[in-house]
Symmetry: C2
Subunit: 432 residues, 2 copies
């Protein structure tokens, strides 16, 4: 078998066999197949596509390119969740404690922020001492003893995917539904997930900007799950505007804690309950979504979910006093409430523009080595469908630099659009 | 400007600007743009194409990636020819002496064999002492003093093309009409050609197997010529069966010498006169093709053309006695006449199969470092449309190894197809 013949087959719209895909992924991971062949292959896949079967074989080959985590000795059934990323998406920080409080242990590996999109690890590090670098042994022991883990990748999971992703990033081959789907799914499979709730974001602040693309991605990942014998539920959720109100690391953790205390923005709370319910059904802690949702609501109402967040933070070395008293999070130097420049109905809060403005404030990275400023970001007070009067608070900027504050104010004002006629709120979820 | 954005633009079917193409070619030639970006770009071009304008910009950028040869101080107008390669194509060895004898000086840079397709340099080296490694100064001096040169590339012409071709070869990105056209044309432009006759082969023994592809390639190269302000004539010629009768290095030189003496196979002679006539018209030595053709015929009849071959061989250090007496070429150890296994009309002499059989005998290379056996090859006695009776000579094998002889006999017998009903001869040229 020769790499060039596999490239030519895909160039000519052929369907690759499992053996061909395994040969290519193994060769690429070991370095026998050079980057220049892998990038030509990736471009052929971008332009000619892959069938669900090919994509599943690619996913499994990448998953098996490194160690495979086996959680069967610590949990009866490993349920995971994955969000395709967006602005203000602090869902895991609420959903994990909720489902764990309902009796479903979950050990989740999260990521860092990528471009305008935030990352759960960066958010959790707003809590002093919180460790996201657990070893595999620590991960498994904590999952067994505490039933809850939220850490970074402890193993070298799916190294072929990491290598391919780095190459795709510089060769214009990121935008491919089969390549995106296999990249997401291979890490979940290598991480030991037996069932997965996928939260596929769509809209202005998502990587899939159209509903059609998001549907294709979701459907392909469900197909991969079936073919790889995993239970997969894919939800399509809106990312045209930020999720909830807070955008920025500590601000989002505070909003998550408030949500676990029974408060928080209604849209975010609803989003979390929906995801949690699906996880509980997949994990066989409830028979129906209705039953699961009641369990989740009860876990919040009783304080059991918040207690699980305390357990999590304590187990991973974080200062649990921050959970008990959100006043401990150090505020940014400048906190400015920006008022609505006009009256009307909000017709847009451009999620990507808000996310990019948060990165510019220091909440995210433009280079991998950039430090994160945990205190900065925004709280959005008015969202799509809301009525606002001129002079009412529209959003609050938290900044540590006066010049950046001015830029951020302008950027988020520009992210808003107003309408004189009534505007419907955006849906939280779309039909799959 | 970033390489990845140029790749993405081509991936998304955009038309690249001249600046973008120059940026990419310069960066690739200098090594700033790595191979993995160039191969992804090449695959995007293979699958999404390029306009004639983009292809011309690519051609010019590659031509300017190295030294540009200027022949204006040695000839009044530099006319070149190029054949896209095939089996039994010894045309340059006849055409150059003919047009030079008609008063049009020509300095041509030729290549070596590539795969099943022979190369003029390998053929000329059948003549002991013949040098194909002239320096630029030697090339120009000989062109000025003798009016005829047939050598290898003396300069590092279009190094970006060489680098890109090597990459294309291993990334499944050879098959692209814009990339093939620019690769051919950039070397001709860098070599100083002001007018070019392109002999684009089509058929079973050509790189363009269908007439449609060959037409597209020819038409694109004519467009490039126009946009680059060169006069270009593209001819489409048949390569379903070998050109002429001889296939193999010394055998082809002998056939060329016989043709210059007024003999040689009728099809090959006709092919050479047609190409020569176009060169003479482009070079303004004749007003019409009819006039040019008469000049070419006269140059053969008078012996003037043969004399120019003597001049060429002598100037480049070759033993001119081989031109005067073809009996000096050392024969192969085994010369076997293979007889027709049946009677009928010849309906196929598969050019590629014959070319591959010649390579297997040692006439070509399977690796770049392989030595060439100049004596081996075939003489084809019956071609498409010919009537043959069982037992009549069909072809002759010249071999230096008994086992290889047996293989070659079988391979060429298999290259033949017979018909009970009359078969028309193949055309020499097709309409453009």
């Amino acid at each position: 078998m020769r790499a060039v013949d596999i490239i030519i087959k895909k160039r000519d719209r052929g369907e690759l066999t499992r053996e061909e895909i395994e040969f290519f992924v193994k060769g690429f991971a070991s370095g026998e197949i050079p980057d220049y062949q892998a990038s030509a292959f990736a471009m052929a896949v971008v332009l000619n596509g892959m069938t669900p079967r090919e994509t599943t074989d690619l996913t499994l080959a990448m998953a098996h390119s490194g160690q495979m985590l086996d959680l069967s000795d610590v949990v009866d059934f490993a349920v995971d969740k994955h969000s395709s990323g967006g602005v203000g998406d602090k869902t895991s920080i609420v959903v994990l404690p909720v489902v764990v409080a309902c009796g479903l242990p979950v050990g989740k590996m999260s990521g860092r922020g990528l471009g305008f999109s935030g990352g759960t690890l960066d958010k959790m590090e707003s809590i002093p001492g919180y460790r996201v670098d657990l070893t595999t042994e620590e991960f498994k022991r904590q999952l067994k003893e505490k039933g809850i883990v939220l850490s970074g990748q402890s193993l070298d999971l799916a190294p072929a995917d990491g290598k391919l992703y780095a190459l795709r990033d510089v060769t214009g081959t990121v935008q491919s539904i089969p390549l995106i789907a296999s990249s997401i799914m291979c890490k979940k499979l290598a991480g030991g997930a037996q069932a997965i709730v996928l939260d596929v974001k769509t809209g202005l602040g998502a990587f899939m900007t159209t509903l059609e693309e998001a549907r294709q991605l979701a459907s392909l990942m469900v197909d991969i799950g079936k073919l790889a014998e995993r239970e997969v539920v894919a939800l399509l959720s809106d990312m045209n505007q930020p999720l909830g109100c807070a955008v920025g690391n500590a601000l989002e953790v505070i909003e998550a804690i408030e949500t676990l205390k029974g408060g928080g923005p209604a849209d975010f709370r609803e989003h979390c309950l929906h995801i949690a319910a699906h996880m509980l059904v997949l994990g066989k802690r409830a028979k129906t979504l209705e039953e699961a949702r009641k369990m989740a609501e009860a876990a919040i109402a009783s304080g059991a979910a918040l207690e699980k967040l305390r357990v999590l933070v304590e187990a991973q070395g974080g200062d649990v006093r921050y959970v008990d008293d959100i006043g401990r999070f150090p505020p940014a130097k400048f906190i400015e409430v920006v008022k609505a420049p006009r009256s009307g109905y909000i017709s847009q809060v451009h999620a990507r523009a808000v996310g990019e403005a948060a990165v510019a404030l220091g909440a995210g990275r433009t280079k991998k080595s950039d430090p994160i400023d945990h205190a900065v970001g925004f709280v959005i007070h008015k969202k799509v469908g809301d009525r606002v009067e001129a002079g009412e608070p529209l959003f609050t900027v938290h900044a540590n630099d006066a010049a950046k504050l001015a830029e951020a104010r302008l950027a988020v004002l520009n992210a808003y659009a107003f309408s004189d006629v009534k505007v419907e709120p955006l849906p939280l979820f779309y039909d799959g």
